[in-house]
């Protein structure tokens, strides 16, 4: 019986059909999705911190308004994803508690600091750029609520990358100092950005199953290659240099070849030893704790309003 269901499920998703919340699904599929969607949601939320760092110091009112809109979008992305995750039977507050206790993971990239204004440009251009590359295929993922959330997210992401590239472009065309600032940001964000696609294919144990379930459509290395091929000419266009001495165009394959990636660094940051892991978690916990009185007040207000409404109803009856 169970076997039957499993076979039917696998044939069903293989034929590009969507699974909806109340449909039967194997436990492992549900668990994989809960893990992936909640990590994705946490990444959107923690991702607000490095950028929020610059809202009050943006160089102009226009840049400040743009950055606020972008950060607000990321909050929205987190919320779409938490709500998609809940359709799989988990409670929102439990999911958030897992982030705050350090049990749940989020994208490692947000454990790097944003040291100068150029970092805001580099983050938009590279980090959002890599995120888009990862997210576009997820719009066709087999789980309906996740796919729908991704369609919305992707629509909103494209301005994020464009505004970041425009910041870099403006700096690169500025004074020598500004150009150096842009180059320095690119130097620091390049390698962490290309690590965002995850470990190389020969060391990515869960990928095959996710591919079979149509959750994942392209391998980590395929997406990374696509990102590099697209990004290198963009850097050239604005006169910046990708910090990879081994980077070269391969005429035959039609792709760029890149130097070795420092996976030890990647593993170190994932294990909690990046430059900002502690700072990020502390900031999330502080925001939650500092917001306690607001949540209490909102709860008390809702109760009072409900009681008043009930009293009015009794009086009218």
């Amino acid at each position: 019986m169970e076997m039957d269901l499993l076979q039917r499920f696998e044939a069903y998703v293989a034929s590009e059909k969507k699974i909806e919340p109340k449909d039967w699904m194997p436990d492992a599929y549900r668990k994989t999705l809960i893990r992936q969607i909640s990590q994705h949601a946490h990444s959107e939320i923690v991702g607000m911190l490095p950028e929020g760092n610059w809202i009050s110091r943006a160089p102009s009112l226009k840049r400040k308004a743009i950055l606020m809109a972008k950060v607000q979008d990321e909050a929205g992305h987190g919320l779409y994803l938490y709500s998609a995750c809940e359709t799989l039977g988990v409670q929102r507050d439990d999911t958030i508690a897992d982030l705050h206790s350090g049990k749940a993971k989020y994208s490692s990239i947000f454990n790097y600091p944003t040291l100068t204004w150029a970092d805001i440009g580099a983050v938009g251009w590279l980090v959002d750029g890599a995120a888009i590359m990862n997210q576009v295929p997820l719009c066709k993922c087999s789980y309906g609520p996740y796919a729908r959330a991704m369609v919305r997210v992707c629509k909103e992401e494209s301005f994020h990358q464009r505004q970041g590239f425009q910041i870099m472009m403006t700096l690169a065309q500025g004074t020598e100092e500004q150009k150096a600032m842009a180059q320095d940001a690119l130097n620091r964000w390049w390698w962490p950005s290309i690590m965002m696609f995850g470990p190389p294919d020969d060391n990515s144990p869960n990928s095959a199953q996710s591919m079979a379930w149509n959750i994942k459509r392209f391998s980590n290395d395929e997406l990374r290659q696509k990102f590099i091929d697209l990004t290198v000419p963009q850097a050239e266009l604005i006169g910046l240099t990708i910090p990879d001495a081994d980077l070269k165009w391969n005429e035959e394959t039609g792709h760029y070849e890149h130097g070795p990636i420092d996976w030890d660094e990647f593993n170190r940051v994932i294990a909690g030893h990046g430059p900002c892991n502690k700072e990020r978690l502390d900031a999330r916990n502080k925001a939650w704790d500092d917001g306690a009185w607001v949540r209490e007040a909102a709860g008390a207000h809702a109760e009072k309003r409900a009681a008043r409404k009930a009293a009015a109803n009794t009086a009218a009856a």
């Binding site: 909806e20 109340k22 449909d23 039967w24 809109a69 607000q72 979008d73 929205g76 919320l79 779409y80 709500s83 998609a84 809940e86 409670q91 929102r92 507050d93 439990d94 958030i96 508690a97 705050h100 206790s101 729908r148 959330a149 909103e156 916990n285 939650w288 306690a292 949540r295 909102a298 709860g299 207000h301 809702a302 309003r305 409900a306």
Partner: protein, 95 residues
């Protein structure tokens, strides 16, 4: 961490006058007013709507996926409900 477990609200948005409200997702809020306010910020940051419905998720009755066949199969063999079922001479142009 103290937990809230505020009720879940399903959010429906009318994108413009003349169209029906469409489900866009869900959110948590202490009460209906807060659900509308949050829905404004979460789901209409780019003029996606002119009207919002917020419905407590617990108030929705859904058909079960197990009943899908019982409920929807009976329509399968009623092709005569579609205009293409009827072959008419070419002379009858627009009908």
């Amino acid at each position: 961490m103290e937990k809230q477990h505020w009720p879940l609200w399903e959010i429906f948005i009318r994108s413009r006058q003349g169209l029906s409200h469409r489900h866009v997702g869900s959110l948590h809020a202490a009460d209906a007013e807060m659900a509308i306010e949050n829905a404004r910020d979460v789901y209409t940051r780019r003029q996606e709507g002119v009207s919002i419905w917020a419905i407590p998720a617990t108030e929705i009755t859904a058909s079960s996926p197990d009943e899908k066949d019982v409920l929807f199969d009976p329509a399968d063999d009623k092709v005569y409900r579609h205009p293409t079922f009827y072959d008419l001479p070419d002379e009858v142009k627009n009908m």
